[in-house]
């Protein structure tokens, strides 16, 4: 019974992961890499953001309606979408002068 449950859960988890497209961004020297990330439209996206700087950063986007603090030298996950095709700028609020980027949904 427990075995069956484990298998079912594993399958469920698998399908859940398969449904989300996964993409990653890196923050280095208060800049996003890549500056533009192309993602599929109409799909939920699991965005991994890794902060390689020692200082914290806040990933923020009015267009995506997202906001998340990322501690120095750590990484995080942000779910976005499903998005309509278009350009969705985001920025690092703590270093907005240099930390600018965008998701491009196609």
């Amino acid at each position: 019974m427990t075995k069956l449950l484990t298998i079912t859960l594993a399958l469920l988890a698998n399908t859940a992961f398969a449904a989300d497209a996964e993409f990653s961004l890196v923050i280095r020297d208060h800049r996003f890499e890549p500056v533009e990330l192309i993602v599929p439209a109409g799909k939920k996206i699991k965005l991994k953001v890794e902060n390689k700087d020692a200082t914290p950063e806040e990933f923020e986007s009015h267009e995506l309606n997202r906001e998340k603090v990322i501690a120095g030298n750590s990484s995080t996950t942000i779910y976005v979408g499903p998005l309509d095709p278009g350009r969705y700028p985001f920025f690092g609020e703590f270093n907005a002068k240099t930390a600018q980027g965008a998701l491009v949904a196609q």
Partner: protein
């Protein structure tokens, strides 16, 4: 310096608006000043603790701890604001109408004070932790004008406090017969706005479905980073691109609290 002033101002403003409204709404509750100050101090201590633990909190719940933490804080704050508003609709009039009521029903008054304490502490904790983190990052970053950035931060803090104080002073000038309606509407909007923000964090963590995101886009009409947009976000949870689930959270919080107020109000007037 200007950039850091704006960041700190925005964080301070949200907390200051909440404090201004709650301080005005409870200005007749005996012993309120002490509880307010205690809430402020507890919130500051909490903010520093949370900022220091950001990495650890973020790693909880497989990287979604921050969203859950924020949603939980907001959820508790909504409950506290609801309790406050319902309590006020039962006791507000008697508090205002006579000095006799001072000391009357001490148990109830104490409970209201601890709710006041919690609301203030949670507001300061949530907004303060991001500010503390930002300033910490600046302070530890080597060289390049950390000093002026800190000065900017202090400027932002002062400006946010002034706006909160102005709101408080303005609310106290409202004539008595409208005062309770005005403050309870503001608290109701605060609570509903926080419920919507809690939903946004849960969507961001993929814990609840977004149910169409965005429902609408009013960012051209009222940009979320304009002065009015920021103010309305702090006061009533304005969101230029809300998800369907946020609107449901907003409506449920709003209607539930409004019904609770109506029911207690009717009960207290028949007594």
């Amino acid at each position: 310096m200007f950039g850091s002033a704006i960041i700190v101002f925005r964080e301070t403003l949200e907390a200051a608006l909440i404090i201004g409204i709650i301080a005005a709404a409870t200005h007749q509750v005996p012993g309120r000043n002490r509880w307010l100050a205690a809430g402020l101090l507890a919130g500051l201590a909490g903010a520093i603790t949370v900022a220091a633990a950001t990495g650890a909190i973020a790693e909880m719940a497989s990287g979604l701890g921050q969203e859950l933490f924020n949603a939980a804080i907001l959820g508790i704050a909504v409950l506290m604001l609801a309790w406050h508003n319902i309590w006020m609709s039962a006791h507000g009039k008697e508090l205002a109408s006579s000095a006799r009521s001072t000391g009357h029903d001490i148990g109830e008054g104490k409970r209201e004070c601890s709710v006041l304490f919690a609301i203030i502490a949670l507001a300061v904790l949530r907004e303060g932790s991001e500010t503390a983190l930002f300033l910490y990052g600046i302070a530890t970053a080597d060289g390049q004008g950390g000093h002026t950035t800190l000065m900017g931060g202090l400027l932002g803090l002062a400006a946010g406090t002034v706006v909160g104080w102005a709101l408080y002073a303005g609310l106290l000038r409202i004539p008595l017969r409208w005062f309770f309606s005005a403050t309870s509407v503001l608290v109701l909007l605060l609570a509903a706005g926080m419920a919507s923000q809690a939903a946004r964090f849960l969507i961001q963590a993929d814990m609840v479905p977004s149910l169409a995101e965005p429902m609408w886009d009013s960012s051209a009409l009222l940009p979320p980073d304009s002065a009015l947009g920021i103010l309305l976000h702090g006061l009533a949870g304005y969101d230029a691109r809300p998800a369907g689930m946020q609107i449901i959270f907003y409506a449920v919080a709003f209607i539930t609290i409004a019904i609770g107020m109506k029911l207690t109000n009717r009960k207290s007037s028949t007594n």
